[in-house]
Structures are given as structure tokens and as C-alpha cells.
Symmetry: C2
Subunit: 316 residues, 2 copies
Amino acid sequence: MTDSGSPVLIGLDWGTTSLRAYCIGETGTVMERISSPAGILADHPDGFAGTFRAVTAPWRDRFGPLPVIASGMIGSRNGWIETPYVDAPASLGDFAQGLVPVETPGGGPVHFVPGLSCTDSAGTPDIMRGEEVQILGALSGGDLAADETATALFLLPGTHSKWAGVRNGAIVWFETYMTGEVFSVLMDHSILGKLAAPGGDPSTEVFSRAVEVSLNGDGSILHRAFSARTLPLFERLEPKDIPAHLSGLLIGEEVRAALGREGSGGKPAVTIAGRGDLAQAYARALEIAGVASAFAPDDVAARGHFILAEAGELIT
Amino acid sequence: MTDSGSPVLIGLDWGTTSLRAYCIGETGTVMERISSPAGILADHPDGFAGTFRAVTAPWRDRFGPLPVIASGMIGSRNGWIETPYVDAPASLGDFAQGLVPVETPGGGPVHFVPGLSCTDSAGTPDIMRGEEVQILGALSGGDLAADETATALFLLPGTHSKWAGVRNGAIVWFETYMTGEVFSVLMDHSILGKLAAPGGDPSTEVFSRAVEVSLNGDGSILHRAFSARTLPLFERLEPKDIPAHLSGLLIGEEVRAALGREGSGGKPAVTIAGRGDLAQAYARALEIAGVASAFAPDDVAARGHFILAEAGELIT
């Protein structure tokens, strides 16, 4: 995974609660990495520029000046600078053309990736910042020529998960689901969390059964969620399993809606860009829905930074 | 509205956060009423029996011993006694038969109304305590003989709203929607409330447009709710209107699902048992959905207590 030559690029995946910095080699692989809790909500005594210089100093000291690309919420209103949104459908070239360079004293220019927006049939806007780079990176992970012509569905799990449809190398639509945040506020602040008890591993069986209920349900999650209250009252759900049940209901609801987005006929395979328990839970829910899924390679953000730097002629 | 004769019954609508006591005359109308914040979550230094005696003492002192009927969460695990649930379909006679008498020293017997449970096609239970008495009361409000044979849809707005289908005088199904509580936790604890600003009256136009989006939407509210974040970011929704927008999305989602419960063919008129802004908001949402609605008469709980007392032969 490590280039033998010199690094050619620094990539910053700079989100709300974390900063991931990549030192990227000439074939696009990650040579070194730094993970920091210095997300945009953290304290930045010397500003974002100061944090950037401090975090990347070891690399710039050893390797000299390197082009820098930054993506994520760092390019939002509450970040370093607010970059405009590119409107979907958008391809690698559109993002490269939209790069916003900012000079930093003592750190060289940082090229900010624009965000992505889209508008649904009801005229409602949606937005992402950072995930678009991961999707571009995941697209380039395999045989780029083949991916350019295929239809692909991407899922990026998280507090706000994103689903995106990609055709001909362009992100043609995407949707944000507040599933993770809704789970948290219901568990922490609603009546549903009141009966929950800690203890043991989350039950895969309970999760899966709840996913099925939501996949098959044609009512509303506003009603279905109440079963996290009634089932324990009837002693048909153990207090320790309430989180798994509610999580299954919510993720099942999301998967049902997101798969329906592409029309009832198609069930394309889904590429999941993510790791850990949450990504595994989505993979399980997709399996229950009869849809194949695969995990994107590691470091899709860094790979996205690399191909953007190539397309933007920051590296040659 | 006031019987000229002597009172025949005390009715207690005793919920989580309030106690409404009714002194009921011989034709079922409310002669006097007492509203108290002494819901079951309040402090009861002399127990529930003590609170009952204190609240109803003026009536019992003046009118002598009267039969007493109590409904609501007072009959739950955290209440005075836990009454069993009657399973739907359930009619007036079933509830009358299920009345649970409890002797109270110095206060005479209190007859507790059982709760109502039902099970949906997925085998998931649902429950209500108190609303069933309001539905029975609303049914009896007009021409009882006609209502006995008609199909009717009832809506009881609240933190957890209830929809119920009534046929041949029996509650045949019902569903709980957590709409009000989901609204509160999203506004108070999620990112959606962060941009909201106080100010001015809630916009009816904003509410109505959001209702339409959810009525027509075939995706998920987990996605749709995110527009309460994106629309203000694009300056297409004023911060002061975020609550009206989110409320419209959620109530529209509930109305869509609840009306769908009866099948896509039927759009029966809905009787709303409730008053105030929330009930008005539901009436507006139903109007947008092309469904007629009417408000139940006042005091449907007391009317329900009265006909239950008749059916249970507590009064003659």
C-alpha cells in the first residue's frame, strides 16, 4: 500500500468532528496518515490555517511544499471558507473545475473541493460536503473505464447517511437520511429510551426482524417506532434489545425508501463506503432486502483527493 | 349544558400530566368540572387515593356518595392499579364488562376502565388508555343508532396521536403515531432546531406546503425532514418558519399513512376529538388531503364515562 517514491499530494478530509490528513504517493496510495479530533467544531486557537500548518508541518518539513486538497465541512459556512455547491449531475471534471484555491501564509495554497447539491422532483434541495470525494474515490478504485459506463448505487453510512446514484462517471442524484441522528435523539430523549437497559451484545436477530418489518411496512415509521415501547410492555422484547429493534426499524425504513428511489424494477448492487458496526448493519439490511452489497476499498477519500488533483492539474 | 337535576356520576380522565374530573348529570352532561395538574407523574403525598379524595371531596360533601369511573394512564403500570387490556375489536359492552372496581377508604369504589390493545398484520401490538373512552363518547354524541352501523375514522391529536377505525359500534383497529414527540425531540435536540429562530406567528402557508410534500412523497420522512436544514441554508425558508415546516412534514406523513390504513379506495370523513392549535393543524392537513373532518363535541371523555356507567349498570 505504500508508494516507494516521493509523496506528491496532501489530502485533507476535514469534517465536523475530525480531521484526517493523508500524505499521498505518486500512484495515489496513502504513504502516511494523521487522524486528529480537530474537526471544525473543535477549538482552533490559531484559526483553521494554524491547525492546518501544525498538523501537516512534519510532512512539509521532510518533503518540501506539496499541493493540498481539502474536502468536507471545512468548506462550509462554519468552516475555513464557504465554497459554492456544484449542482448534480456532476462528474470528476466538474469538481476539478470548481476547486477553490486559498493562499495560506507559510503553508502554500489549499484547494477546497466544492460541495454538491441536487434538487428532487418536489423542488427540495439536498447537500453534501466530503462524501462526493469519497464517491469519486470509490469509483476510481476498480476499473475506471468500466465504472464510467455502469450504473452504480453508493451508500455512505453516518449520522446523516447519504445514498447516491452514479451513471457515466457522474453523480446524478443523492439523498440524505437523518437515520443515525433520529436514532440518537429517540433513544436519548424520547419515551422509547426509557425502558432500554444496557447489557450484552446487540441482538442480530432482533435487528434483522425489525429491518424486515420496515422493509415490508407500508405505513409510517412514526407509527412503527412505537413498537419499541409496546413490545417490551408485552414482554416480547427484552429491554437490552430495544436499541437493536429501533435501529433495525429505522435502517429498514431508510433502505426501503432509498432502494425505491431508483424505481421498483431495479435492484442494483450497492457499494458501501465505510467500515465498522454501522456499515455492517447496513450490509445486513441490504441482504435482507435481497440486494447485493460490497464495501469500497479503504482510503476512498484520499483516492478521491488524488484523482481530483490529477484532473485539476495540481499534479502531473 | 347543565342538567337541572342531581348529579349521578363522577368521571375521572386521569392522564400522565393532568387530571380532569367531571361531575355528570342524569342526561350525561357535565354539571361541574375540575382541572388539575395532578397527573400520574405529579407528587401524590397521600397516594392516588388521597388525591382522588381531595379533588372530589367538594362534590361528595354536597351530593353524597356517587359512583366513580376513571380512565387514562391512571390504569397503567405506573398508575393506581394496572388494569388489563381489552383486545380490539371492542365495543361499549366489552369495556363495561371489563371495568375494575377498587374500594377506596372514605371515597367509595372507583371503577377503572380497562385499556385497549390491538395487533397489526405484522403481529405488532399497540395500546391506548383513555382515548377509547373519548371515542365511545364521541360515538354517542350524535345519533347513536346511526353510528352503530356506520364506518367512522377517529383522530385524537396529542404527543402520541391515535387513529381509530370504528364499525358497528366497535373499535376495530387503531394506531399510535409518535408525531408530536418526534417533532419535539428533533426541534430540541437535533441539527434541525439549530437554525430555528423565534418570532411571529407560525406560517400557515409554510405548514400547508410541507403537508403537501409529505402527502405526495413516496420516500421516507427520514430524508424529507432534512429539508428543514437545507431550505434555510438556501434561504428558501425563514428561520422562524422552520417549526411550521417540520410540523407540516410530520403531520402530512402521519395523515398519509393513517388514511392509507383503510385502503387506497376509501377516504372516510374523520372525527377529530380535540381542540386548540394542534387539532386545527390536523384539520388543515386533512383538508389538503381532500378528506372531510369534523370536531367531536366537547367533553367526549365525560360522555364516555356516562355511557360506560350506564352499560355497566353503575347508574340506572
